[in-house]
Point group: C2
Chain length 424, copies 2
């Protein structure tokens, strides 16, 4: 308030000293002068920005194109367009404590982050937030492990079986087993599981094949973890506000900020949520506050883009990404149809409560199958053609299928399409 | 350059329009006006700053004072004094990729962070960096687990024994055992270990008691992890540039940025470093780039404070913190001596190659023992007196000793000292 009033005074002062000519021009020049004076001769704050990390090297028509990981660099264009509204500034003295909010349910969740996440779910309508605890993790990968820990009482001393229907996300087996835990162990394809007790991982839309999934296993004491990394309007029609026991999300696949390593969980049961917190305390003593503050700013910009800004795609993340994905899928389907040797899963579509119309699903990965004689190992075949993908065996299925990221830069996607078109 | 020249022009313009009276005052008022106009009625950039997390509630003379955790809020004053030189600005489009630098040894280490860490060690002289791989972790806690994973081949199928001499850091047993890993298990006090193979955790200066430690165990196939969280000039004389196989550090206890959750490891052996990277990939797919960029900025400010800025304590983190710790220890030792019922470990001192003089050690924790009859459970006794500490049993020793954080705010420390003084 003080600044506003003094600002008004400044206007009166400026009037009084009779700058008749062009206050606006002089103000603009003064801004530059002041920036120089107070911010050291550069654009405001520029000395405080950092050199951006290099990421992957740029793709050229002759280079290898790496579509093995789902690196969501496609989103960079949108965020360049958003400009300073998504910029975060953190002074050196801020958020130094281990603690975010001792009065909250989880002491290391930043209140501003929690608020924007709940607001986003209300905007999109993809998950119920009322009655849920919100936890934060270093990516949803960490929260997945926290959930395994919370759901594995190991009462009989035997590790809990962890299953998912093939094709399943390639990281599930390795992340479940790398520490050889006595609490849980990977037990493979949920379709063939016939035990009494298990944890089923339900990834929907599914990584790698984009299918829409419900619980498969009919175990007597089955528990589920819903991996909703891709349950966002750019990838699939939003058909309901999901309300499962444990639901995992991540900014990586919602806004494209993979490097921020931030996920969240909506958890219904208080005791389960408390055990997950315990895991996060032991594993990393909570979660980076810088990442949480940045994610809060990013998610705020997404919500503001729908609720406060003029209705333009430049402000609307999901519209930008949905159009981009639809264009890419259209090009890929045409190229695959023309190839004669490849195939893709059928296109799904449905009424989206967010878009308020029937829309096609645009999965984050292409699940590409090859029917050419002699190509038994598709990952190897594509690698020979300088396309890095992830082969079916890592997802629990055969070698004639691969997962290809649809989320990379336009340049990488173009090179990919041209190479696929050249394969007969 | 354009900004500089136009800035100069603005000064000439201001002269021309004849603001004879007080250009400085008008400029100040105009700054406020411009801030209001361009930055939405608040301090420059404030719309991009975020609400700071609440941290712990402030301490009052009557409130509970929580010195259980080593929450390093003492450092906030220093960073407020440093001002914008430690502020970080991250535009929305930056560091979105999973990858930091595919040409580096570790794909998720930000090159700017690595550069500042190596610069800092060269400045302080507490660790050799040449010939070492640098890894980053979500706090040194995560790197500790990565090291256990890397050093536990479990060739014979038996979990590797993990030991440390009592009193040992209270988190070592729980962090080692929470997943009931088949790779490693906590095996207690290193002083009583007599097996052939183990991993020894060497924390020096030691948490909780501040002692200087070397390897204890003479196991045939012993491996060590050196936890150097506190091997910084504010806590202990720097006596050598350490050069052990695995050395762990953290910004929490170096600069006070615990909320940033960032640690690093210096690792000599390439294969061990690669296994640690594998753990960090599986556990969290790398480490928050926002935290790394912020830590790089913070560490740069620390180094610049010694190498580029005028020699004043306001610029020199280790001098600020060393003086603060020395004052606190002096007050605590006087209070304890006057109490008649408490004791502390003897003061250590030595020649510090960084300070270039003989200095006393000022450990981050007070290891406080009580000799009063009837007080068997010191943690409980202090809790009744509204002082939260961590009792000896959590560190593998008796109940008549507690660990007290020396790193909290001045207000909390004052209340603590007054309460201790009142106990007879």
């Amino acid at each position: 308030m003080a600044a506003r009033e003094t600002g008004g005074m400044a206007v009166r002062c400026a009037g009084r000293i009779g700058v008749a000519a062009s206050v606006a021009v002089n103000l603009a020049l003064l801004v530059m002068y002041i920036r120089r004076r107070y911010f050291g001769g550069s654009r405001s704050g520029e000395e405080n920005t950092v050199e951006p990390s290099k990421g992957k090297p740029p793709v050229t028509p002759d280079s290898v194109v790496n579509l093995d990981h789902g690196d969501p660099t496609m989103y960079k264009k949108f965020w360049k367009g958003i400009g300073h509204r998504a910029t975060i500034v953190i002074p050196g003295w801020q958020t130094m404590s281990y603690f975010s909010d001792l009065s909250g349910f989880c002491w290391f969740v930043e209140p501003g982050f929690e608020r924007e996440v709940r607001r986003l779910h209300r905007l999109v309508g993809n998950a119920v937030v009322e009655g849920y605890h919100l936890l934060v993790g270093t990516g949803s990968t960490q929260l997945f492990q926290a959930a395994l820990y919370a759901l594995s009482p190991a009462e009989d001393g035997k590790p809990m079986s962890v299953v998912s229907p093939a094709p399943y996300y390639s990281s599930y087996p390795s992340v479940t087993n790398y520490l050889n835990s006595g609490l849980y162990r990977w037990d493979g394809d949920a379709n063939t599981f016939d035990g009494d007790t298990c944890i089923e991982l339900v990834c929907s839309p599914n990584n790698p094949d984009g299918s829409i999934r419900k619980t498969t296993v009919k175990a007597k004491y089955g528990k589920t973890i819903h991996d909703f990394a891709y349950y966002w309007p750019q990838h699939t029609p939003i058909t309901e506000a999901a309300s499962h026991d444990i639901m995992l999300f991540t900014v990586s696949k919602c806004t494209g900020h993979a490097g921020t390593r931030l996920g969240w969980a909506l958890v219904k049961d208080t005791e389960v949520a408390q055990k997950m917190i315990k895991f996060l305390e032991l594993n990393t003593i909570g979660v980076s506050k810088d990442s949480q503050l940045r994610a809060a700013k990013i998610l705020k910009a997404v919500c503001d883009g729908y609720e406060l800004s003029p209705a333009s795609e430049a402000n609307r993340l999901f519209h930008f990404a949905q159009r981009k994905m639809a264009e890419r899928w259209s090009r890929l389907r045409a190229t695959v149809a023309a190839s004669g040797i490849f195939s893709l899963p059928n296109e799904l579509s449905g009424y989206c409560t967010f878009a308020k119309e029937i829309v096609a699903a645009n999965p984050p990965f292409a699940w590409l199958r090859c029917h050419k004689d002699g190509v038994e190992d598709l990952e190897g075949f594509l690698r020979e053609n300088k396309i890095m993908t992830r082969g079916g065996p890592k997802f629990g299925v055969d070698e004639r299928v691969v997962r290809v990221s649809m989320l990379d830069t336009d340049e990488a996607f173009d090179v990919f399409i041209n190479r696929v078109a050249s394969l007969k």
